[in-house]
Symmetry: C2
Subunit: 218 residues, 2 copies
């Protein structure tokens, strides 16, 4: 036997998929829906969740898994809303993986829940590549990012099953063309529902919340 | 010899570092400065480069390497400014690597250049991990992303040697606290120069351009 060192490549995606499948079975058994919110840093994911907690609190019992590289700032914001929330720190990694999600779910009072929302690490690229056992991925895009982002980051906008376009209150102050943005999205994902919203002005929220409730109802 | 398939793990970071070192030698020999601009999707990196091309055109000869996952939209914008620009498409990958940068540099009219700017893939996480042979990394953060981003994405804001805070023209319309943002940056990188700018209103640009010129002057 030679003593040459052979580096072994572990099939990490296979390992991730195993945990995603396990999570999907768990959620099915418990009749819980799980959505994976993915968007850039500062797209307004946490603000959207704060607003959802106000709008859904009497109809859907939900918990949040907050993904971040460092700090517990987002989880603290949601904790103020009195919803179950856990902070998942990736310690440098650019996305959440299925195993961490699975264990965090087991620590929730899972039998009381209808829905779990994952706020993934702020990143338009890597989180889209990982199945974490969610029912579906939802893309969050702010108008300040520009109309061309769906074309420049095609994986997420192809994988997503809905797109929330945030910060529409800023439209009077920026040269963003909503119709062009929608055309760009339709080029890569023709039938996807698109929800332009402003959390600050509370516009567009009822359509978006209605869609989410219909998807989640028992 | 067994026919068991052994997967081989290539030391990719070592490979990357080899190309980064090679690039650094090339740039030193040619007396060219190279800066790696890193920020979120929509932070305003391309607009900043368009503006730089106007402000620097008579003093510094520079070229741009445009990193994107898909589309040549950003390179087209800069091509309109008549500066040498190449589009580097990563085909799904979330960051630029040193080998691609090296070969793209060799294709430029390199003896005519004083400076090369890399616009990395829009991502606050992964591009910060890769040395591509640059002199230094410059973080680009827009005010619409929020004051806490330097704490939530500490690697980039620690690695960076300057921070440009963009879109300050939007400050009257959003609850962004510039002093808090600067305090957050100083917590992880106490002496870093910070340049708040608006490309639209052309404010803060002269300090930022002065700093860049001083750094680059021959």
């Amino acid at each position: 036997m030679s003593n040459k060192k052979i580096k072994v490549y572990r099939d990490l995606m296979g390992e991730n998929q195993k945990w995603a499948t396990k999570t999907r079975e768990l959620l099915k058994n418990k009749n819980i829906s799980m959505y994976n919110f993915i968007g850039s840093p500062g797209a307004g994911k946490t603000s959207l969740l704060e607003k959802l907690s106000d709008l859904l609190k009497d109809t859907i019992n939900f918990a949040v898994l907050e993904g971040d590289i460092a700090t517990t700032k987002d989880a603290e914001r949601l904790d103020n809303k009195n919803i179950p929330v856990s902070q998942l720190l990736t310690n440098g990694s650019c996305h959440l993986e299925a195993k961490l999600i699975h264990y965090a779910l087991l620590d929730f009072p899972i039998d009381t829940l209808d829905m779990v929302i994952i706020e993934n690490v702020g990143n338009l690229v890597c989180p889209a590549e990982f199945d974490v056992g969610e029912d579906l991925k939802i893309a969050v895009l702010s108008v300040t990012e520009g109309e061309e982002k769906p074309l420049k980051y095609p994986l997420l906008f192809t994988e997503a099953k809905a797109i929330v376009v945030t910060k529409t209150d800023l439209l009077p102050h920026i040269p963003f063309d909503m119709n062009l943005c929608i055309d760009n999205i339709k080029k890569i994902n023709p039938n996807i529902p698109i929800f332009p919203v402003s959390v600050v002005h509370n516009t567009g929220m009822s359509e978006w919340v209605y869609w989410l409730k219909e998807l989640t109802k028992k």
